[in-house]
């Protein structure tokens, strides 16, 4: 008889292994995708002003004449040994450049999450409590409006409102090492506002729907008949049973805050990973694109595993399998 592993732990390990496999597949897909882009790296770097001689020199120096398969496995080997290589375009160490940018990405995502997640949950609870009444309608109307605005429109709107009409913040949000925490918060205020506007509705609606769904149950009716106050019912009895769907939507939005905010980054000139990725895609800087793609995929997969695990823990039937 082998070692008995707790079924839950086994489940988590399975998910992790699956995640790693997925990551490998993603790396190959990214590589193929970048290969399929029109134009080549040397031309993209040197632009319109490239002479044929300079192009030939650059191609040779960057090893672009090797077959794609060789380049892919060279790179994969490097990643496994912790070496992401150097950027083709400016020779910068990729791991170091990504490290700094990733920090900024996570900072922005964290700021937006700290505000939007509790706010969405509270608004969702209130909307569920007063379902169909005016507070519900107001909350839904406002959040649906903000999610319907394209991000860049929302961005221009807050730039106009909060830098021109009421000059509170800076239109261009850049954070640098050495800035105080307060200064950093001030710098990212506008992008955070836009991101909160974008992610709020989704999480709020899910919270409301999940709770209303649970509210149909017989045990809620029992609680009502016992005379428990409505907010108490929602908080104590309905919410814990609605956690699983809410968590999966929250995590999806967190993942979006990390990997999907490139438009917001570009508008506000925020120096994080999204803009970094776009610049390097434009220049066909394959190693950087792959590395960033891998980081994004990793974050996405990890957060989804986290959502799964939380859902499992929240569900007694999964927590205590027969």
């Amino acid at each position: 008889m082998g070692v008995r592993i707790h079924p839950l732990l086994k489940l988590v390990i399975q998910r992790l292994a699956l995640g790693l496999l997925l990551l490998l597949v993603v790396s190959a897909v990214i590589f193929l995708g970048v290969e399929a882009l029109p134009g080549d790296t040397a031309q993209a770097i040197l632009g319109q002003s490239a002479t044929p001689q300079a192009l030939a020199n650059l191609r040779e120096q960057m090893g672009l004449n090797d077959p794609p398969l060789t380049r892919y496995f060279d790179w994969l080997g490097g990643v496994l040994t912790g070496d992401l290589g150097k950027s083709l375009t400016n020779g910068a160490d990729i791991a170091q450049a990504i490290g700094q940018r990733l920090g900024n990405t996570l900072f922005l995502a964290a700021c937006a999450a700290v505000i939007s997640v509790p706010l969405a949950l509270i608004l969702g609870l209130i909307a569920a409590r007063y379902a169909g009444k005016w507070p519900d309608k107001v909350i839904s109307a406002i959040t649906l409006t903000t999610i319907s605005l394209p991000e860049f429109v929302a961005a221009y709107f807050v730039i106009y409102l909060l830098t021109q009409v009421i000059p509170l913040f800076q239109p261009v949000a850049m954070v640098f090492p050495g800035m105080s925490f307060g200064a950093k918060l001030h710098a990212v205020a506008l992008p955070v506002i836009v991101l909160v506007m974008v992610v709020l509705a989704h999480m709020m609606r899910m919270t409301r729907a999940a709770i209303l769904n649970v509210m149909q149950s017989a045990y809620i009716e029992t609680a009502e008949l016992k005379g428990v106050r409505p907010m108490q019912i929602i908080w104590r009895h309905a919410f814990p049973n609605a956690i699983a769907p809410i968590v999966s939507v929250v995590v999806l939005n967190l993942a979006y805050l990390v990997v999907g905010v490139v438009v917001v980054e570009v508008v506000f000139g925020y120096n994080a990973l999204g803009q970094f990725l776009v610049d390097h895609v434009t220049k066909r800087d394959l190693p950087v694109v792959q590395a960033v793609g891998l980081v994004f995929a990793g974050v996405y997969i990890m957060l989804n595993i986290l959502a799964d695990v939380i859902a499992i823990f929240a569900n007694p039937r999964l927590r205590h399998p027969k």
Binding site: S49, Q164, V172, G269, N271, Q275
Partner: protein, 528 residues
């Protein structure tokens, strides 16, 4: 009258008005000459440079893929950055003359084949080393190297031999070139210690400012270099470039005071910004131009009558007004305007003429199949709108011009220099020879109209070695005529460099040679 007087005083304070002009204007307003003189003294004193402060510049045209290696600079931010930490042998002054920097004297042999640059003594690099003639030669050598990817390769390739003796650098050319000093002002050719061979991206130069923080695509900050050879004329303590590629955010940053200066103000909003408080729109008529290029060796563009039909069917004035918001000037189908030395003003301006276009079109015998013009938003700002205007005015002449929209991504690889008819742009060059040799000589690497004309080539070579300016001007004029009447270039407009400058910034000069005072804004301006 108060307003008018304020304006005149303001202009004087900015150094835009001489004493003579000031007194002339103010006395015309009924102010006594004595009072006018006193007023001038006060206004001009305010113009005295103030020391200190840090200039903040918000710029479009930077990417996180940029490098400090001057050889690799290709976009606007690296151009500015290079010239902030680096110093070239000579500069081209706003009036088009040569200004001596690292070289303090330049002379040539009568046949313009051998050039001597006397190197200024006591110029120091940021690392404390003294700049020598050997450093100059090593720098030029690195850009000449066949293995180099330098954007200046085409410029220095013609140098057959270079040597350093004492404080003298001697360059021997393969063929005569009367414009060599202008070529040495190229922004790639900033002098690096040891030529930058060991560490091209060190950012160590002999410029007015030292690199402090280098975060490509985000910001480049600089500190004043105390031992700069010309430190007396530098007023700022430091300068900072922030990459702001988004038009709206960049403009808002200027308006909210986050930065003092921005480049590339969108022509569409210039009218709105002109009324804004605390800032001015400065536009400098430059040599850059927006073009539609036809390959003269591919059907149907191998037919000169069809080319002429297209040249007559474009409405240049309309383009300058609608695409450039009036901040530019009309082109005449050759890449030279009055910003160039030896420009011939007497060449007849080509105008929109639907009747003439229709006539040429009929003469060309084109079968009536659509003529495809490829364009992309990134071909030049407003390229898609411009192509649509072109198609509309061509339609009026009965020419079936059809627009094909291409993606920005890969445009310079898959469309430009590949497809026979597309939109493009040129940044212009300091002298005519360089512009023509870059793109219109039969053997030019970037001959993007595939124009091959023996007579044109011959004239270009003759003019290159010609030291007699009258004769040279004549030769350039003849070349312009050939290109205008036979070439594949449709040049509707020359674009201005349009910047937004806060009123706090003083000493601003509109320089036709390049954006933001040709890269010298930080070295020449001061903060009020």
């Amino acid at each position: 009258m108060k307003d008018q007087l304020d304006r005149i005083i303001d202009a004087t304070r900015r150094g835009m008005m001489s004493r003579r002009e000031f007194i002339g204007r103010t006395t015309a307003m009924g102010i006594s000459a004595g009072l006018a003189s006193a007023l001038y003294g006060r206004a001009a004193r305010a113009q005295e440079p103030k020391k200190g402060g840090i200039l903040r510049i918000g710029m479009a045209g930077g990417e996180s893929t940029n490098s400090l290696d001057p050889a690799l600079a290709a976009s606007e931010v690296p151009f500015q950055v290079n010239l902030t930490w680096g110093e070239t042998l000579v500069d081209v002054a706003p009036d088009g003359s040569i200004e001596y920097r690292i070289a303090e004297e330049v002379s040539s042999s009568p046949d313009a084949k051998e050039w001597k640059f006397k190197i200024r003594q006591g110029v120091e690099f940021h690392d404390g080393k003294t700049l020598t003639a050997e450093d100059v030669v090593a720098t030029l050598k690195r850009h000449t190297d066949e293995k180099s990817q330098s954007g200046a390769l085409g410029i220095v390739q013609g140098i057959a031999d270079m040597k350093a003796e004492g404080d003298m650098v001697t360059l021997t050319l393969a063929s005569a070139n009367a414009d060599l000093p202008f070529l040495m002002a190229d922004y790639h050719l900033v002098i690096q210690p040891g030529g930058g061979v060991d560490n091209p991206t060190a950012g160590i130069g002999a410029g007015a400012f030292m690199v402090d923080v280098n975060e490509p695509g985000v910001r480049h900050t600089f500190k004043r270099f105390e031992n700069y050879w010309d430190a007396g004329n530098v007023h700022l303590d430091g300068t900072e470039f922030y990459v702001m590629n988004d038009n709206t955010a960049r403009t808002a940053a200027l308006q909210s005071g986050q930065v003092h200066v921005i480049n590339r103000v969108d022509p569409k909003i210039v009218g709105l910004l002109q009324g804004a408080a605390g800032l001015k729109i400065r536009s400098a008529a430059g040599r850059g131009h927006y073009v539609f290029i036809m390959h003269v060796d591919k059907a149907p563009f191998d037919n000169n009558d069809l080319r002429m039909a297209l040249k007559y069917s474009i409405n240049r004035q309309e383009m300058v007004e609608k695409i450039l918001g009036g901040l530019g000037s009309i082109g005449n189908d050759f890449p030279i305007n009055k910003a160039y030395p030896l420009f011939d003003e007497t060449i007849e301006q080509r105008e929109y003429d639907a009747a003439k276009a229709a006539e040429f079109y009929a003469k060309s015998g084109h079968d009536g199949s659509p003529i495809i013009l490829r364009t992309a938003p990134g071909a030049f700002p407003g390229a898609v709108d411009a192509a649509n205007l072109f198609a509309a005015s061509a339609k009026a002449a009965g020419i079936p011009l059809e627009i094909k929209l291409e993606p920005d991504d890969g445009y310079w690889t898959n469309v430009w220099n590949v497809e026979p008819f597309c939109a493009s742009y040129w940044g212009g060059r300091p002298v005519q020879d360089q512009m023509y040799s870059t793109a219109y000589l039969s053997t030019a690497d970037w001959n993007d109209t595939k124009f091959k004309n023996a007579k044109f080539d011959e004239l270009l070579m003759a003019a290159r070695g010609e030291l007699d300016q009258t004769k040279r001007k004549q030769e350039y004029s003849e070349m312009a005529h050939i290109l205008r009447d036979e070439g594949g270039l449709i040049l509707p407009m020359f674009n201005d460099f349009v910047c937004g400058v806060s009123d706090q910034v003083q000493g601003w000069i509109d320089d036709p040679n390049g954006e933001l005072m040709n890269g010298r804004a930080s070295a020449k301006c001061w903060l009020a």
